[in-house]
């Protein structure tokens, strides 16, 4: 009697994606779909797709979807959730979409404590438009709009969204994951499960930042891209849970000794 040990999640459509080889969008899509299936909420889930590489995400999930304009997915998600609190609402956004043009929307969505889940894919580059500098591009990293590498004196330092959002007083679940190894992917799925569960329980806003690779626009082969992520991104973007609905606000610390 053959036993099914691996199959496509119901929440994932049986289609070929447009993602490049070595990109982890496909893995992240699958993890989300598995979580939706396992929580049994596919029939009442509505996704919100961004502008960026995952603009066509609505073609890949077997759920209802909204395609939002650039950066506005958290506002669109707010509208859906406020109109239909019974729905499970998630947005799927990249770093240009969420951390640049959509910075206001994400901060205020989190700060209002909207009961939605945001999956934030950070690959340190603008993918769809061809490799321009993103707000999360690493110092010294070459991009088409910083051909000599990101100059932090000129462009500032990369924005750490998970850390930034975890400073908000409003209860939330904020975590950062990566999926470039099987073990990390399992951890990422657990974070996604926690994020969706908290929404379904009506507890809080949730965001999982997922580090991703972009061999195409980083200009390196997939295996090398994985090593670059580990060597360059992980030290700056540490993985873990930054905020839970139980954790309180951060208290200000006293000035360091010697500062006058």
């Amino acid at each position: 009697m053959p036993e099914t040990v691996f199959s496509r999640p119901e929440a994932l459509r049986d289609v070929t994606t447009h993602y490049c080889p070595g990109c982890t969008h496909g893995t992240i899509h699958r993890l989300i779909a598995e979580v939706i299936d396992e929580l049994g909420v596919r029939e009442r889930t509505v996704g919100v797709a961004p502008v960026g590489c995952s603009v066509l995400a609505y073609n890949y999930f077997e759920t209802d979807f909204h395609e939002a304009s650039h950066g506005r997915a958290p506002a669109v998600a707010t509208g859906i959730k406020r109109a239909r609190p019974d729905l499970v609402v998630f947005s799927y956004q990249g770093d240009g979409d969420l951390a640049s043009i959509g910075m206001a929307e994400i901060i205020h969505c989190a700060n209002r404590g909207e009961k939605v889940t945001v999956v934030f894919v950070n690959n340190a580059i603008y993918g769809m438009t061809g490799g321009q500098m993103a707000p999360t591009t690493m110092p010294g990293q070459v991009a088409t709009t910083c051909p000599l590498g990101r100059d932090v004196d000129h462009a500032g330092h990369p924005i750490r969204i998970a850390e930034l959002l975890s400073t908000l007083r409003t209860p939330a679940f904020v975590a950062r994951a990566s999926v470039h190894t099987p073990l990390l992917a399992v951890n990422a799925k657990e974070m996604l499960r926690r994020a969706f569960s908290l929404q379904i329980e009506g507890r809080c806003f949730s965001l999982v930042e997922v580090l991703s690779t972009c061999p195409t626009n980083w200009g390196i082969p997939p295996a090398e891209a994985t090593r670059w992520l580990e060597k360059t991104m992980l030290p700056y973007y540490p993985l873990g849970v930054f905020k839970t609905p139980e954790s309180g606000s951060r208290e200000p610390r006293p000035l360091d000794r010697g500062v006058r």
Binding site: V46, S69, R82, R84
Partner: protein, 362 residues
């Protein structure tokens, strides 16, 4: 229901509630703050939701999400805020989402001022944002009509699956007049269940995707053709205007909309008392514009006077209507200054004795 003395802004809010709109997303801007303020008080009373968004950009995208869920939803703003919403309005039109947007116009360009203006006519009727779309645009001239048109706007939005813009000015928003909300009001259009809404998919219907992206040019062209057919139906079925003083012979025809037409009606009455008869056509829908009504009424006049609170925007539609068949004169104020009845009377007299220069020759 008995008549109530209400501010235009409050009447607009109440009309939305009466029309079954239980969702409002907005951002403060003068001179329309009384609308979100009213909704923040009123919506919780009916189990609805008010959200003050972080920006007009966000508010209009909240509209997108709520409308895509099949619920009636509204926002209001004033000129600079509407510019910020323009992007989302294009998406709303592209994704064919029914929403009602109220623009209480203030003077511009830029930050401009906060007093009444009609400077957003072009934006509302011709060029709100990128892409190839139209909004149904309704222009009330009284508080009662504002309330009526807001209710109609929800029906029209649902029927056409298209954003509807209610275009008022600071006067409409700020003044108080008696308003009556008729009980048992029925929709003005046959409305169907919103099976297209993205509300979860249990397999009983095709998956719903709220979207304006069509990467296949043939598919996008088909979509554009579909939208055009919709706009053509609006042009055929939704033209609204009011005639004033056309039951007598007249030498001059006035074309004006909104509160400016109110001012003109007083001037027309004053002139009639001195034996000078002037007619008026007041467009109630700015898109679709009542070209035929203006053309037919102008055919009985020797000249036409357009009155606007702008540098001259609606006058271009009047030119299209008349196709150089009549000379057109123009009276306007800008910057928040108002046209007074006296100014209209003076202009009509100046036209009669040759002191007014036409801006469009026949």
């Amino acid at each position: 229901m008995a008549k109530k003395l209400m501010k235009g802004s409050e009447a607009i809010g109440e009309a939305a509630v009466q029309a079954g709109c239980h969702l409002f997303f907005g951002y403060p801007i003068t001179p329309q703050n009384e609308i979100p303020e009213y909704m923040s008080m009123r919506l919780p009373q009916v189990g609805g939701t008010f959200v003050q968004a972080e920006s007009e950009v966000a508010a209009s995208n909240m509209l997108y999400g709520a409308a895509g869920s099949g619920e009636r939803v509204m926002t209001s703003s004033s000129s600079p805020g509407v510019s910020l919403m323009a992007e989302a309005i294009s998406y709303l039109a592209g994704a064919e989402l029914p929403v009602v947007i109220v623009n209480i116009m203030r003077a511009g360009p830029g930050l401009g001022g906060i007093l009444p203006s009609q400077g957003d006519y072009f934006q509302a009727t011709k060029g709100m944002a990128h892409g190839d779309f139209r909004l149904l645009v309704l222009a009330p001239w009284s508080v009662q009509e504002a309330a009526d048109l807001v209710q109609d706007a929800f029906d029209l939005a649902d029927y056409y699956r298209n954003p509807v813009l209610v275009l008022g000015d600071g006067l409409i928003g700020q003044m108080m007049e008696p308003v009556e909300f008729r009980e048992g009001r029925l929709p003005i259009k046959p409305l169907e269940a919103k099976t297209w809404a993205a509300t979860g998919n249990d397999g009983s219907k095709p998956r719903s995707v709220i979207n304006s992206l069509f990467l296949d040019p043939e598919a996008l062209e088909r979509h554009n053709v579909h939208l055009k057919e919709k706009y053509d139906r609006m042009v055929r079925d939704e033209v609204r205007f009011q005639s004033y003083g056309l039951d007598r012979d007249y030498d001059v025809l006035i074309v004006a909309y909104g509160t400016v037409a109110r001012v003109c009606s007083t001037a027309i009455d004053e002139l009639a008392a001195s034996g000078v008869h002037v007619g008026m056509v007041r467009p109630v829908t700015l898109f679709p514009f009542p070209y035929q009504a203006v053309r037919e009424a102008a055919a009985r006049a020797s000249s036409v006077l357009v009155v606007e609170l702008s540098t001259g925007q609606m006058i271009e539609d009047v030119r299209l209507a008349l196709a150089n068949s009549k000379p057109i004169h123009f009276l306007n104020r800008m910057g928040g200054m108002l046209v007074s009845p006296d100014a209209v009377v003076d202009k009509i007299r100046a036209m009669a004795d040759g002191r007014s220069t036409e801006v469009v020759h026949a």
